[in-house]
Amino acid sequence: MTHPLALRMHGVALHFPARREPLRSFKEWAIARLRGRPDSGVFWALKGVDLELGQGDTLGVVGRNGAGKSTLLRLAAGIIPPSRGEVHIWGSVAPVIELSAGFDRELTGRENVLFNGSLLGMSRRQMLAKMDEIVAFAQLEEVIDAPLRTYSSGMLARLAFAVATSVRADTVLLDEVLAVGDQFFRSRCHARIAEMCAQGTTLVLVSHDLATIANLCRRAVWLDEGRIVAAGSTAEVLAAYRGSATPTQACS
């Protein structure tokens, strides 16, 4: 028996300290205290977001830089707690947010696959079973036993994508990760995502590449300054979003 929803956000808001640097030393903290405004000024990255996502839905998230898209994904993954509201998550979630965060440069590619798998909650045995497929997808057969510090950035990105998407979670969250590698690798990434969606994986995709969103997502939301300004079918939302650009932005 499964729940019809994959994700529900209710009145979700999140703040950060507004100062450029968070207080890192006692001295700064004491000075801020003495001035009587210890927490003066907060920046609300999200200002009350309501969102429901059914099992198997594909949702695109668009918006300008700083609109709160990545923050939304982190909340959806349960990585950070909201300042207000609540997030309900059904089933397993694989956040593919910054691909190489879990990599260790001194370990070999193979060791990193196992290590990263354990970060994503996979057992060693499960990862070993997937190893050949991962290495083949990343096209790293020849260097997989070399330490990661010898890899190029493109190789790293390919390996990270292959590992992250080999873990079949109920919900996959992708943050601008389809822009890695050359065009051939990219098209294989797209094919893999489309295949996962066809199998019923719930997808949330953050991207500035509107064509990708139009391709992969049935629904979309447009986020601006921490609020959802449009939600609905991908075509409607993208049209509204495109229409919002000022003439100069539209030119570029």
């Binding site: 499964t2 529900r8 059904w90 879990g102 260790d104």
Partner: protein, 275 residues
């Protein structure tokens, strides 16, 4: 894709409970093992002798310490090297683990922001790998003992138990310190300066007897004194540590675990703002 009916709920102001944190760590036991193994081996990945350094490092240090301090205090304390080495290993475990626990939060900051991992898994992995290192360093210590003719006794079998009690204390301290260090860099810097003062306030290099009677309460107020004794007594005097020493060590371990965990659970929901 069969998702369970019960959702995971993340609410504003929610703090991890002990039960949930343990469950989250438990389901990631393979990650914990990987973190420990990585901690133990990556250091030596690029070196020729590799893991052998785990034994060589304490061995070299012990030989030097024995030569230097052995001449200094040899008349007062027989088997001085055994006296020194045992307590030194215990203190090193505490010092290195707490320091590394604070650094581990900085290293793993990017990870904590990009994937859900229970924050306690990092100090826990550091404390476990430190314990493994402590156990391993008993071997070169036995070697030094054998060379110097220090008698071996059955009470040495107590060493793993002493190490385990120390583990509890170290883990509790690490929980608290690493949480504070995420918020304030000063904690790490102050700690690094302060801990060396504590080292000299602990009878590691000198015999307790040279401390004047009126200053002894300072020593007895220092929890590390008891953990050093746990490791020292079986090695140095060939006897089990006295019951009250064990009792004090157990109490300190339990208290620090409770305090450290409370600090961690209160501070960890805000870690992402500071990492």
């Amino acid at each position: 894709m069969a998702a369970p009916v019960a959702p995971r709920v993340v609410r504003a102001g929610q703090r991890p409970t002990l039960g949930r944190e343990c469950a989250e760590v438990w389901t990631r036991w393979e990650l914990l093992v990987n973190l420990v193994v990585r901690d133990l081996t990556v250091r030596y990945k690029r070196s020729l002798l590799g893991f052998l350094w785990s034994f060589l490092h304490p061995l070299i240090f012990m030989v030097v310490l024995t030569l230097v301090f052995g001449t200094l205090f040899a008349q007062r304390t027989p088997n001085y090297s055994a006296y020194l080495l045992s307590a030194y290993l215990a203190f090193q475990y505490f010092l290195q683990t707490t320091t590394k626990a604070m650094a581990s939060m900085a290293w793993n900051g990017p990870l904590l922001k990009r994937i859900y991992v229970p924050a306690s898994i990092f100090p826990l992995s550091v404390a476990i790998s430190g314990l493994v290192n402590l156990y391993l360093s008993f071997l070169p210590m036995f070697l030094v003992m054998a060379v110097l003719g220090v008698p071996f006794s059955w009470s040495l079998l107590f060493l793993p138990v002493g190490g385990l009690l120390l583990f509890g204390f170290v883990l509790g301290c690490s929980f608290g310190l690493c949480s504070l260090a995420v918020y304030f860099d000063d904690v790490r810097l102050m700690y690094e300066a302060g801990i060396y003062s504590v080292m000299y306030l602990t009878p590691i290099f000198y015999p307790l007897e040279i401390v004047p009677e009126k200053f002894r309460p300072i020593i007895f107020a220092n929890p590390l004194y008891y953990y050093c004794e746990l490791i020292r007594q079986p090695v140095f005097s060939g006897q089990l540590p006295p019951g009250h020493t064990i009792l004090v060590a157990v109490i300190w371990a339990v208290v620090m675990l409770m305090v450290g965990w409370q600090v961690l659970r209160r501070m960890s929901p805000g870690f992402f703002r500071h990492l």
